[in-house]
Amino acid sequence: MSEISSEQIKEYVLRLADDAVVQGHRLSEWCSHGPFLEEDLALTNVALDFIGRARMFYAYAAKLADDGSTEDSFAYTRDCREFTNLLIHELPRGDFAFTCVRQYLVDEYSLRFMEELCNSEDPTLAAIAAKAIKESRYHLRRSRDWMLRLGDGTAESNRRMQEALNELWGYTHELFEADRFELSLANAGVAVDPSLLRNEWLTAVSTTCEEATLSLPTENWSVRGGREGIHTEHLGHLLSDLQFLQRAYPGLEW
């Protein structure tokens, strides 16, 4: 781990922080829009977990940067090109089916990812991951339940879930692609090599889809670019909400 600089770790941590903050933001948009009150509250719970996760990662990045950066300066003053989240997180929340399928695909990934990150030689990353694992287990139990209930519910719910799955599929490939930078950190025992998670993820997703009477998309399209800051058009709008106050009244305490 010695040849890895704290600047490099910071870059890596920011990727994970951006993933979490964007996912949490999309979930938080559901507040008061849920299909019934209990689910409204449950979605908020998951949103809170992701925002909490983002804050831990950002706080660690700020410590590593050691230049006056804070969790909020990372979240609120960087532009689209500097955000390095995976694209799947930033897609608009869509209908409840879209939100459920996305959450499920992300949870299956997140849980495995955090289990690996738990073994990081970087103790702070390992500690954050350990906390995240517990949350992700609960998230996955919930989102997998929704896959079954809505996939195997009514004809309409099945149609909506299948459509969502088809729309999301092309964004899942990116989850498992590591660039050279991530690979070098993985080789040094700091980061997770996500390509190693793919087989297990695919097996789990296939099993769930089968049980949920959904068919796994076979089309070969894919979109990527999040880690290089090449985003969908949606992220800018998300940031214009998220960052509005900090942009309109810069540099103040809130």
Binding site: E29, S32, T154
Partner: protein, 312 residues
């Protein structure tokens, strides 16, 4: 016979006994409670909207997390209260239908828009502040499930008020723009907050009977006075001015005197003509309708699971 029942009932109330769901109660008591608890439940739920309006735009991640948790609490309060109402023999669906059809009310305060971040501060400080004054009093209400619900809810409310007040304090001590934002929010929310306690006792349709049954323990005017008295010092503490030229300490009463509420505005908002009445109901109705397919799918899935279990 029923007269005798009513006397026994009133004796129990007078002896500060709690009335429980299985106990005999006058039909009017039951209806009165359903009206009040349902109004309270709907207020918690509709109140999620103005604050929800700022969740995606909260200025820091910490504020965002606090606000999310706060709004989530309010939804939880709605749940307890719907359950309390259900013990009186009415279902949540019926209550929500009544809301959507305009037969049930919710607190008029939520028909005002939350247009700046400072409004989130003002809502927490004043609206939750007013709610606490009301709910602390209701911890002693005569209906057991309602009283116990209030005890639970009050525990969370003080955190709500503190987070709102802290937002206001931070703004009031911030830049000129921020201070202006805070004062503006106070100006807009002060009078609607006072209206939350309802009409004067002399005008209140349900007050006298509610007091006799101890559904309400203190009158609208008593509670409003308590709220004014506590808020004046809080405003002073952070250098904000309560927008009432008639506000003055009355040594003899040991309370603040304050100006008259614009009761025409109150009547207008109650009648559905506030700035956000239509928006709030449309929002709630739409979320409910958009969720219909989800609720149907759950029922259908549940049936399938059961059938499979029986077949196995």
């Amino acid at each position: 016979m029923s007269e005798q029942h009513e006397q026994i009932f009133q004796n129990r109330i007078d002896a500060e006994e709690k009335i429980e769901p299985k106990d005999w109660m006058p039909e009017a008591y039951r209806r009165n409670l359903i009206r009040q608890i349902s109004q309270h439940a709907h207020s918690e739920v509709i109140g999620m909207q103005p604050e929800g309006n700022w969740i995606t735009r909260a200025p820091t991640l910490h504020r965002k997390a606090i606000l999310l948790a706060k709004v989530q609490d309010e939804g939880g309060h709605g749940l307890y209260l719907y359950s309390a109402a259900e013990t009186l023999g009415i279902s949540r669906e019926e209550l929500i239908d009544a809301l959507h059809e305009g037969r049930a009310k919710y607190a008029s305060i939520f028909n005002y828009p939350a247009i700046t971040w400072a409004d989130i501060g003002a809502i927490g400080w004043l609206v939750d502040g007013a709610a606490i004054v009301n709910q602390v009093s209701l911890q002693r209400t005569s209906y057991g499930p309602y009283a116990r619900g209030m005890v639970r809810i009050c525990k969370e409310e003080s955190f709500h008020q503190r987070q709102g007040y802290h937002i206001m304090m931070t703004l009031a001590r911030g830049s000129a723009d921020q201070k202006h934002m805070a004062q503006d929010a106070l100006n807009r929310f002060w009078w609607p907050a006072l209206m939350m306690f309802g009409p004067h006792d002399s005008e209140s349709a349900h007050s006298a009977q509610s007091m006799k049954w101890k559904v309400k323990r203190q009158t609208n005017d008593e509670l409003r006075q308590k709220f004014v008295d506590q808020s004046v010092a809080q405003a002073e503490e952070i250098g904000l001015t309560i927008p009432d030229p008639d506000l003055i300490w009355n040594e003899k009463r040991g309370h603040y005197d304050f100006g008259e509420i614009d009761w025409d505005e109150f009547a207008q908002v109650i009648a559905g003509n506030g700035p956000c009445n239509r928006q709030r109901l449309t929002h709630h109705r739409r979320a409910h309708e958009d969720g219909a397919w989800v609720r149907e799918a759950m029922v259908s899935y549940q049936k399938k699971v059961q059938q499979r279990r029986e077949a196995a």
